[in-house]
Subunit: 351 residues, 2 copies
Amino acid sequence: MAARAGVSLKTVTNVVHDRPYVSASTRARVKAAIAELGYRPSLAGRQLQSGRSNTVTLAVPRIDEPYLGALAHAMIAAATARGFTMLIDETGRNAEHEALAASGYPGHGIEGVIFSPAALDPQNLAYMSHNVPMVLLGEHLAHSTADHVAIDNVQSARDLVRHLLGQGRTRIGFLGAKPARPSSVGGLRYDGYRQELASAGIQVPKSWVIEAYPYTREEGETRAITLMPHLAEMDAIICASDLLAIGAMRALRRHHIRVPDDVAVVGWDNTVDARYHSPSLTSVASDLPRLAELTLETLIRRIDGDRAPGVSYVVPHELVVRESSARAAPSSPTMMASNRDGVGFETRSPG
Amino acid sequence: MAARAGVSLKTVTNVVHDRPYVSASTRARVKAAIAELGYRPSLAGRQLQSGRSNTVTLAVPRIDEPYLGALAHAMIAAATARGFTMLIDETGRNAEHEALAASGYPGHGIEGVIFSPAALDPQNLAYMSHNVPMVLLGEHLAHSTADHVAIDNVQSARDLVRHLLGQGRTRIGFLGAKPARPSSVGGLRYDGYRQELASAGIQVPKSWVIEAYPYTREEGETRAITLMPHLAEMDAIICASDLLAIGAMRALRRHHIRVPDDVAVVGWDNTVDARYHSPSLTSVASDLPRLAELTLETLIRRIDGDRAPGVSYVVPHELVVRESSARAAPSSPTMMASNRDGVGFETRSPG
DNA sequence: ACTCGATCTTCCAACGTTAGAAGACTGTGA
DNA sequence: TCACAGTCTTCTAACGTTGGAAGATCGAGT
């Protein structure tokens, strides 16, 4: 509506889009009018005309979980860099809300969805998403139209087991398994744990493996308590997420079990919490910026019309070793020693 | 476009909006067609026609900071409950980006902005925001057109001091002061600290008060190190945020200073981190759902046309006492005793 | 039969932007 | 003087939705 520069709308459009066939003087006059009036093209009008909104949605269970917050941060950065607006949608582990996300938010002009599912079966999700391009995070899904981006969950679990074995710990439990759904994140990590133990010729009692869901501190604390009867025999617990590990460590602390002296604890996600917890927590780190870049790149390629079958991308991971899995103490140590001397040491081994 | 029910667009609109003067049979026929075609009204078209988008923005420095994540979670819930879409914008403590937020994102159809400023002076913000209703979070601003929602920062600081005094601690330092800007969050909290100390007749050396910004774990750790020379004389540190406190505690741990045995540590925000840290952290909690409700209610009233001068709302707070500020040990305790026995105790006193 | 009112449906312009088609102006060469 | 090409501007329809105005249908009252 800034046709107050004495020109028509089309000329304004041509100036805004840096089109040729506009005289230098007219161009300057229009730009001056735009600046003077503070004119900004209406995205609604533009969207209506072009059918494009340059908006994608990140659907996560809760934005206030550390890993998902870090993920959102990386995704927003990646989207912004590509001129896209990132809309955050909290599904709250609610199946109905996840179905809405999977359907692409009809009517909202969303051009793509990045989905971290929690409640719905991924099979259903893929079935639903046929209007809008979708990238699945975390849980893998074979023969889907949706793309998939994640770390190698099996291998990272094997890395953790090998790390613990290298520290002289062989009596390793697992918290957060999901054997009933082998393709889920919990299922894959549990599988890697089993594979590596098997290849090392180690057997563990079934009672050392327990399920947990969701992967929260509360759940970690609650479930760890059920492990207590067997803890005297164990020397390490692999937790399927940092939050589970932090919750578990709280339970251990309550029961006067020392970490890492009595039991080592490790997790996944390398949240900031893992770094600042006392003791600091050994964790599997994924390259979040890289993951976000790859996800956006994939999604935008789909938005731009790529209709090839769904692809699964693997993002590299690495093991960040910290206090919680320091070498097992050979003899009875003074209580605080390991807790203190180890502060701040942080070694990395490629995953 | 769903005029395939054999009726016109207007009739569809009337059905969608539950308008009268549509026969029951026609209504049913249209609804069937809508369901069959999966028709959803285009928000872009609707926005263009009505001028309303029902979208507000929450502008925060970073979404992956625990307090801001929790804030976003509460805000999304409150907005959704009112039929609004909440767009998260990360300003990254960048002045230019904050200016964009303060200007209301022209062209995007944003109807209101909830702003947690970090880089820009609030005076500038209020000056900029004249197109779009705005609610400021945290930092107060007198004589502004923007509304303001926050806890009573001065009183909460006094509560903390009184709590520490009640535990027998009188040699109290402050981390995260901002005396240069008395109306800032850091300035107000520091002011409350000074007031309560003064009314108790206690004087502390200037070296016990240090500034810190931003309120991150890293900054807390770094700044706490500069306090080390004076720590032998102190028995408590008030940190202007939980993250500062967690960072500070890491530095203390590195220097073999026990919390709370040697020094008590307290913070603000009552993040989940505070609850699960070891030792768990005493913190000032604000009622986030209430804060979000109040903020949205205020913002929507402005969107609906209220042009009264800016109002400042106070949200109640409470002190959540945890391990990090347990009563000072009268004599040399065994090292781990207080760290262990206290786990899980959590008392609350109204703020 | 005709009018009137009640009930229901259709027509139309508008929101802001855009691209294609068409128009106007300028200067050059025949 | 006229045709023509080159350069720049204006006209127009369309995206999907909406509300007001106008049109159609029907039954009832005269």
